[in-house]
């Protein structure tokens, strides 16, 4: 350790001598950095785990060809420029993309990064026996070839209007062929050494990794920018909960950076008042939304419960859903549960800006009178007990979500708001591991949706909404025939929408894609099958002595850690 420290210092001295004029003096001059991820990473290979914590931790070490910056724009990392149709990097028929690696990039062990590593990464992830968690990034990839040492050519089996799936973003970094050569296929999970300490091109190198506990890193001597990273050593600690992680940065100052602080805003504000650190948030595509069941979840239907064979008795009426939406004061939900990390929204696709619709903003105006009028018009008569009825059917809703104090707070507020328009609400909360677990034998999963309304957050990776908007095609409806798999939770089904999904996959121009995405979003909103509530941002906190943090929801939050420095 001492030896490495000496080497670091020597390198730093050499680096400091070079011509770069930066805010910091050079590589490894700013000492030690402490990061807390209260969900600890279990390994450092994102291909073997879909979890965000593994993805983020591994982004310190291994890198993709290009990342998304804090605005969602692609920035080259291991290449000099992003291939497009204009610069000839993407073929006219949209079936191939050619990347050229920057010159002189080395792995942390000193060997050069070559196109063969990218080819290997593709083989590693697409091996049918490897169980790769990021397989969807390589959808429709027919082949990846190393044209020469620095040129990677990816061929798709279909025209890809958005060919930036493979090797872009934190989900698909490049791993070293030499290190993982014996870890193909079924052997992948057994390569513990490689999975715990991958060799990478990133700013840091793993020195010690304890699964689900702590990982230690030192600055990478072979990092491409001789001035970076500023920190000589880094510790990434896991454990505890969101509130205690926030406290360790904001109140006690033990840590420099804490991730994913889902804590009630007043608690976070109180901690931030201690003056040790700053709370930062960034908005990606996450939307806390309600899915409105279009099918009947009545238990008496037995096996046909919540299937398209039985439409919901009243929630298929867009006016009822519109009234429910109008009766929710989203500002209050934001203030109670999200603070600066939430904004009211009326769209299930709120970002990036070009895809965001403005046609549904009526829902931002809390208007219980209009809601009451809509329900009166639809024939729902207010009963003596304050609950509306129509043809003997009570306007009674079972409203479920996962167990989380912010969500239960939202539920309680919404219940009261709906009471005012004569809607009876029964609340149910289900443990997150069951609700999101997808076990087909449990009745409580969000796919089975044995309730009238369910609430959770979803988003999409990267910036292209094609796959996300495809979630609501008829074929995506979970049913006993599909073993309750599928992403169309509310069972929305429209031929017109399905046609748009197909059209999306064949449209290349960005403006046309944006128009299509907006049209699809509006169709979903007008159907009333989704009630968006809050556009949620990620919340993290950093110490006041840490500079250079650019909170990013489109890629790893640690995407620019090479630029982080210690303030004087």
């Amino acid at each position: 350790m001492k030896k490495i420290g000496f080497l670091m210092a020597a390198t730093a001295l050499v680096a400091a001598g070079s011509a770069h004029a930066e805010s910091h003096e050079g590589r490894a001059t700013d000492g030690h950095l402490n990061i807390i991820y209260w969900q600890a990473p279990s390994l450092l290979n994102p291909y073997l785990s879909g979890g965000t914590k593994e993805l983020e931790a591994s982004s310190l070490v291994i890198e993709p060809l290009a990342r998304y910056d804090e605005t969602g724009t692609m920035v080259p990392f291991l290449v000099d420029e992003i291939p497009t149709v204009d610069n000839g990097g993407v073929s006219e028929d949209l079936t191939t993309i050619t990347w050229t690696l920057s010159e002189g990039i080395k792995w942390s062990d000193g060997t050069p990064l070559t196109a063969a590593d990218a080819v290997f990464t593709w083989q590693y992830c697409t091996d049918p026996e490897s169980g790769c968690a990021q397989l969807s990034n390589y959808n429709d990839v027919e082949s990846v070839e190393a044209v020469d040492d620095r040129t990677i050519k990816i061929t798709f089996s279909v025209p890809k209007p958005f060919p930036y799936g493979p090797f872009v973003g934190a989900q698909s970094p490049i791993i070293q062929a030499a290190q993982f050569a014996d870890c193909l296929g079924a052997a992948a999970p057994t390569c513990t050494d490689a999975n715990f300490a991958p060799i990478g091109t990133g700013p840091f190198v793993v020195t010690d990794f304890k699964a689900n506990d702590v990982a230690s890193f030192v600055a990478n001597e072979n990092y491409r920018d001789p001035m970076k990273p500023a920190f000589a050593t880094l510790n990434l600690k896991g454990g505890g909960d969101a509130a205690s992680a926030a406290r360790s940065v904001l109140e006690t100052g033990e840590f420099d950076y804490a991730w994913n602080l889902q804590v009630e805003p007043e608690i976070l504000n109180q901690m931030a008042a201690a003056g040790q650190g700053t709370v930062v948030s960034a908005f990606g595509t996450s939307v806390e939304r309600m899915h409105v069941n279009q099918t009947d979840p009545d238990p008496e239907l037995g096996d046909e419960r919540a299937t398209v064979a039985h439409p919901h008795p009243f929630l298929t009426d867009p006016n009822v859903s519109r009234a429910l939406s109008l009766a929710i004061d989203r500002e209050i939900l934001v203030e109670a549960g999200y603070g600066s990390s939430g904004q009211p929204t009326c769209n299930v696709l709120p970002a990036p800006a070009i895809y965001a619709s403005t046609n549904n903003d009526w829902c931002l105006n809390y208007d219980p009178d209009e809601a009451n009028r809509l329900l009166d018009e639809a024939g729902w008569v207010m009963g003596d007990d304050g609950v509306r009825t129509k043809d003997g059917e009570r306007l009674s809703i079972l409203y479920q979500t996962s167990t989380n104090s912010v969500r239960q707070g939202t539920q309680a507020l919404v219940k009261q708001m709906w009471e005012e328009i004569g809607v009876e609400t029964e609340l149910r909360n289900i443990d997150g591991s069951v609700f999101f677990g997808g076990d087909p034998s449990s009745p409580d999963t969000f796919q089975k949706f044995f309730a009238d309304i369910e609430m959770y957050t979803n988003n999409f990776d990267g910036t292209d909404p094609e796959r996300y908007m495809g979630n609501w095609a008829c074929a995506e409806i979970p049913s006993p025939e599909t073993q309750w798999q599928g992403s169309n939770m509310q069972r929305f089904c429209s031929e017109e929408y399905d046609a748009l999904v197909v059209e999306f996959g064949q449209t290349a121009a960005l403006e046309d894609r944006a128009a299509l995405a907006i049209k699809m979003n509006d169709m979903l909103m007008n159907s009333g099958s989704i009630i968006p509530l809050v556009h949620r941002g990620g919340v993290s906190a950093h110490s006041n002595t840490l500079e250079g943090v650019l909170m990013n929801e489109w890629d790893s939050e640690l995407w620019n850690i090479a630029d982080w420095t210690r303030a004087e």
Binding site: A243, V263, E264, E266, I267, Q270, P299, I332, E335, A336, S402, T403, S405, Q408, G409, Q411, A412, L413, K415, Q416, E426, L427, R428, N429, I430, D431, V434, S442, P443, D444, F450
Partner: protein
């Protein structure tokens, strides 16, 4: 007999009749001599009366959220402050107390019934002993959480339909807690019964032909009452705490249905901001458990003929 003598005799008779020595009276006088037990009983009664009649005096709806008045400290309008959604804590503590106490007492009653039944049968009838104790072992070995998941999954919708969401869940929870906490009582009772049935008075009763059920009711049960009482008081406390754990996992009552355990869990994060959110429910929970334990302690002393009168 002279008048004087007659008057004297009458006085003696009066005195004797004034304090007839019944079992109940002995127990009560011993119980009242136990200061801790009396204090416990007083506190417990105050809590029971408070949660029973409190909501008629403090009439704020516990689930009504007044959003402008959130995270408030103690005031006249909100004697225990409000939570982060502006719900009145006092109303929630009162409402939560009703549920928690009801769950505790009912679940305890179920557990005591099964525990005593199994314990006495296993201890008294040798032929039943093996099978009943194996059943007890089986229940002890059951992993409670998966069992709960299965039971709730199987019966929640049926019960919800039959009794409505709240009553249905109440029955389910009380039943689950009761059915998973009778085993210790059964073991303790069996042990005591095994020892008791070899004693001379039981032998004497049997030798004059007293039928088994009468021996059990007249001679055995009163003598195992003290361990049962102690388990019962501990059982109330465990049941209240188990219920709160269940609610926390989302398996219990709906989240807008306050119980002491849930109030504590919800308030934990707000401890530094509004301490009253954890202090009051925590205090009520501890006081209840403590007072019930003291009552149990006093009852044991009062019911045990060896200790009584000393």
């Amino acid at each position: 007999m002279s008048d004087q003598d007659r008057i004297f005799a009458q006085t003696v008779v009066d005195e004797v009749e004034e304090r007839p020595r019944t079992l109940l009276r002995d127990v009560w006088s011993q119980f009242t001599a136990h200061r801790g037990a009396m204090a416990g009983l007083a506190v417990f009664l105050v809590i029971v009366l408070g949660v029973s009649f409190g909501p008629f005096i403090h009439t704020i709806d516990p689930t009504y959220s007044d959003f402008r008045a959130r995270n408030q400290g103690m005031s006249l309008a909100h004697p225990m402050g409000t939570d982060n959604l502006g719900r009145d804590m006092f109303a929630q503590v009162l409402q939560g107390g009703r549920v928690s106490l009801l769950v505790g007492v009912t679940a305890m009653a179920i557990a005591m019934f099964f525990g005593t039944l199994v314990g006495v049968l296993a201890g008294y009838f040798r032929r039943l002993d093996g099978i009943l104790m194996r059943v007890t072992d089986l229940f002890l070995a059951l992993p409670i959480l998966p069992l709960l998941l299965v039971i709730i999954m199987l019966f929640r919708d049926t019960l919800r339909k039959a009794f409505g969401p709240e009553a249905g869940i109440f029955l389910l929870i009380v039943f689950i807690i009761g059915i998973t906490s009778w085993m210790q009582t059964a073991r303790i009772v069996r042990g005591d019964v095994l020892a008791l049935k070899e004693r001379e008075f039981v032998l004497a009763a049997r030798s004059i032909g007293t039928p088994a059920h009468r021996i059990i009711l007249r001679h055995v049960l009163p003598n195992v009452l003290s361990p049962i009482m102690v388990s019962a008081t501990l059982g109330i406390a465990t049941a209240i705490i188990t219920e709160s754990a269940l609610s926390f996992l989302g398996l219990g009552f709906p989240s807008d249905f306050p119980t002491w355990g849930r109030l504590l869990f919800d308030g934990a994060n707000f401890m530094t901001l509004t301490p009253s959110r954890v202090i009051w429910p925590g205090l009520m929970l501890s006081l209840t458990v403590l007072s019930v334990n003291y009552v149990g302690d006093g009852l044991r002393d009062a019911l045990d003929p060896h200790i009584r009168g000393r």
